[in-house]
């Protein structure tokens, strides 16, 4: 066991941090979030130049072959910078779902993603109301149904989604602008965008996958670990902003960071952050675990801790900022909102507690 970064990892981490510091300051971020697409295509191009977009793809497929630790590093930095770029969808979920398909379209798409030419999102919600039907006629698959709350669904070039074929679940790939696809995008609470997508006899390509459900679960697990790391980055930033505020804000003739009651609340934030950080590591350690039961248990435990820490750190950050923390003008509120939405993503607290309870606990 060691927690040291390799030289490559350290370099990646540093370069990304610098890149984000240069291109993703809070004011830029705010301006971007006010209209579609909601992220910065320029920054995305920089991601491509940095090799970030090739990171999670297999070396055999022309990628860099990064593992969960690399994803964790990247997502943490994105979390720190409140990045809204669709990395999670395009470079964490999609690579797993595309991984078993060696066909021409997919190979081309992989290339496009790695070079920053294509954004690919995934409709991976587990709610049954969202299940799309797929019918095969004349060698063509056609999709009919609705997918709601698809992140960047209105803006992505490509969309991957599970659909029911009548003979079980399969994965499909479809272009965003395809005939029969209606996309209605809208803003979300955290300054990002989502969409409701309606399919009506829309021609789609079935992805090769020996076990579509299993592959989807693996993709979700990888994404869950990734979003835990994003949350840790956001929490780190919350803590830093709060400490900076405590160090500078004057009330009652002194900086408020001298008040012991506030110091202790900040100390509680440190503790919650350390616990969350540990469980983000735990998620990364376990998200590629072959034993699905062990994997899901570990990931649920991680999300439980992340959610609890996110809630307490987010709330404390606002409380310690006082009124100014309630305004859209300061970054801290945006972090709080993003953390709240991360809590709800890939299963909320109840979902993961239920999963652990059904398994009889973490150590069962």
């Amino acid at each position: 066991m060691n927690f040291d970064l390799s030289d490559e990892q350290r370099m990646l981490d540093d370069s990304l941090a610098r890149l984000l510091a240069d291109h993703a300051d809070f004011e830029t971020r705010r301006r971007l979030s006010s209209r579609a697409p909601g992220w910065s295509p320029e920054l995305w191009a920089e991601f491509a130049r940095l090799g970030l977009l090739a990171l999670p793809f297999d070396e055999k497929q022309g990628g860099i072959g990064g593992g969960p630790v690399d994803t964790m590093l990247v997502m943490r930095q994105l979390g720190r910078a409140l990045s809204a770029e669709p990395f999670l969808e395009t470079c964490v979920l999609a690579p797993v779902l595309l991984s078993e398909d060696g066909g021409g379209v997919v190979t081309a798409l992989r290339g496009d993603i790695m070079e920053g030419r294509a954004i690919c999102t995934v409709a991976a919600r587990q709610e049954s109301a969202d299940l799309v039907q797929a019918a095969s006629t004349g060698g063509e698959w056609r999709l009919t149904g609705n997918a709601s709350l698809v992140p960047w669904g209105g803006e992505a070039d490509w969309l991957i989604l599970p659909a029911e074929t009548g003979k079980g679940l399969a994965l499909f790939l479809i272009e965003g602008e395809r005939a029969g696809v209606t996309r209605r995008g809208y803003p979300t609470q955290d300054g990002r965008r989502s969409a409701k997508i309606t399919f009506k006899d829309a021609v789609a390509q079935r992805l090769a996958a020996s076990d579509a459900g299993g592959l989807l679960d693996r993709a979700r697990a990888t994404a869950l670990a990734a979003i835990c790391a994003e949350a840790v980055g956001a929490m780190e930033s919350c803590l830093e902003q709060t400490v900076e505020y405590l160090r500078t804000r004057q009330q009652f003739g002194t900086v408020i960071g001298k008040f012991q009651a506030l110091q202790h609340q900040a100390a509680d934030m440190v503790i919650a952050l350390e616990q969350a950080r540990s469980m983000a590591f735990f998620a990364a350690m376990n998200c590629e675990q072959a034993d699905a039961a062990l994997r899901e248990r570990a990931l649920s435990a991680a999300k439980v801790q992340i959610n609890r820490s996110a809630r307490s750190i987010g709330q404390a950050a606002i409380q310690l900022h006082g009124g100014i923390g309630m305004t859209m003008e300061l970054a801290i509120g945006h972090y709080f909102k993003r953390l709240t939405m991360i809590e709800l993503s890939f299963g909320d607290l109840d979902h993961h507690l239920d999963r652990l309870a059904a398994a009889g606990g973490l150590a069962a």
Binding site: T188, Q319, H334
Partner: protein, 399 residues
């Protein structure tokens, strides 16, 4: 000691309830039940309905146009309104500046302002906080300099709720710059249309623009804008804030919200069963019900003590308990709602019904995170939780 409501009190409650049922506009009730803030028009219309009934200023003595109710009746009235749920009367008028005017104001100020407050002809807002004076209100910097026929105000206020609707503002300003912090502060009543006053809305994280910055640039006001004595503004402000602390616990609102949460959780199906039947949710719901019941009785005990000893004018430091716990409970109700909404809370339609229709979940789902974000304020404003704990430690425990 009689720990139940008297027959008269129960009859009073019934009377109030019937009036609200018969007179609260249905659209307002429905709007409030979907966990949204009332609009300006809803507040004005409802205030005027109450005023027509003689209930426009429920806490005021009869001589100033109030119904002359005791604290228990006032409590019942407010609880019934909040549970309806009806919009609150505009606190800045009836609960804040009104009592200051009838307690410390001149005969002329009383005659001019009080009727217009209870009839909601004037919309008042508050000019207390400043960018550098939040919890530490006494460090405020806005200046009022005497000139021939009045005062000239310069400075900046912030967190002025509903400033955009207001035609009047009450302001704390420093009239003796050299005096010690709490001294040399005076209390003014100012017409918002006076030249030199400008407003800048502040968008808060729930997406709303309830609060504003108010700038005073060489604002000339008449001499009779001063309330009471020059330099006594700090005392009047303390009186005002103490008055508000029982109401600020928002117990009736929390009770009404708990009822709506029960309804929502009864219709929200998770894993084939209504959410309200899930053990974890029910435990949290019950835990909150118990805390809220306890808080309600704590408030009643405080009111009863006040009723039997008479209002001393200075707030009971125990009201800090109400403020802290009331804030905590309000925040926890919004967390329950967020949990009911689940991922349906993600979209941010900002009032666009077409977008709302695209999202899964109940029609109020987007209101849940907004409320959750918005209610972070309740442990910050009106004396932050930390300040209230200081008060308890100092004034109740003598530490």
């Amino acid at each position: 000691m009689d720990l139940s409501f008297t027959r008269e009190e129960e009859a009073f409650r019934q009377n109030v309830r019937c009036f609200i049922q018969d007179n609260l506009p249905e659209a307002t009730r429905r709007h409030m039940e979907s966990f949204r803030s009332p609009t300006r028009d809803m507040i004005v219309a409802w205030s005027r309905i109450l005023h027509a009934r003689g209930w426009g200023a429920p806490r005021w003595p009869a001589e100033y146009g109030g119904p002359g109710w005791g604290p228990i009746q006032q409590y019942i009235f407010i609880e019934e309104c909040q549970a309806a749920p009806a919009p609150d009367l505009l606190s800045f008028g009836v609960n804040m500046v009104g009592p200051v005017i009838y307690t410390f104001g001149s005969a002329e100020q009383k005659a001019r302002y009080l009727p217009r407050i209870s009839s909601m002809e004037d919309w008042w807002c508050q000019g207390f906080s400043e960018p550098g004076a939040g919890s530490d209100l006494a460090s405020l910097k806005t200046r009022a300099v005497r000139n021939d026929d009045g005062w000239v105000i310069d400075g900046q206020k912030t967190w002025t709720t509903y400033g955009q609707y207001a035609n009047m503002i009450f302001v704390l300003a420093r009239t003796k710059p050299a005096a010690k912090k709490q001294e040399g502060i005076s209390f003014f009543l100012i017409d918002m249309k006076t030249p030199g006053i400008t407003l800048r809305p502040i968008q808060t994280i729930d997406g709303g623009c309830e609060v504003n910055e108010v700038f005073f640039d060489n604002v000339r006001i008449p001499g009779d804008a001063l309330v009471g004595q020059e330099g006594k503004g700090w005392d009047y402000a303390k009186f005002l804030l103490g008055n508000e602390r029982v109401g600020i616990a928002r117990i009736g609102i929390s009770k009404g919200r708990m009822r709506l949460i029960r309804d929502a959780a009864s219709t929200c199906i998770r894993d084939g069963r209504p959410l309200i039947e899930h053990a974890r949710f029910l435990d949290r719901f019950i835990g909150l019900e118990v805390e809220l019941k306890a808080l309600e009785l704590t408030a009643l005990r405080l009111l009863a003590a006040e009723a039997s000893r008479g209002n001393s004018g200075t707030p009971d430091p125990a009201s800090s308990v109400l403020k802290i716990k009331g804030a905590e409970i309000q925040q926890r109700t919004s967390e329950l709602m967020l949990d009911i909404a689940g991922t349906a809370a993600l979209p941010w339609p900002q009032g666009d019904e077409a977008i709302r229709a695209l999202a899964p979940g109940p029609s109020w789902a987007d209101a849940a995170p907004s409320l959750y974000f918005n209610l972070r304020k309740v442990s910050i404003y009106g004396g932050a939780t930390e300040v209230q704990k200081n008060i308890i430690a100092k004034l109740i425990l003598g530490l």
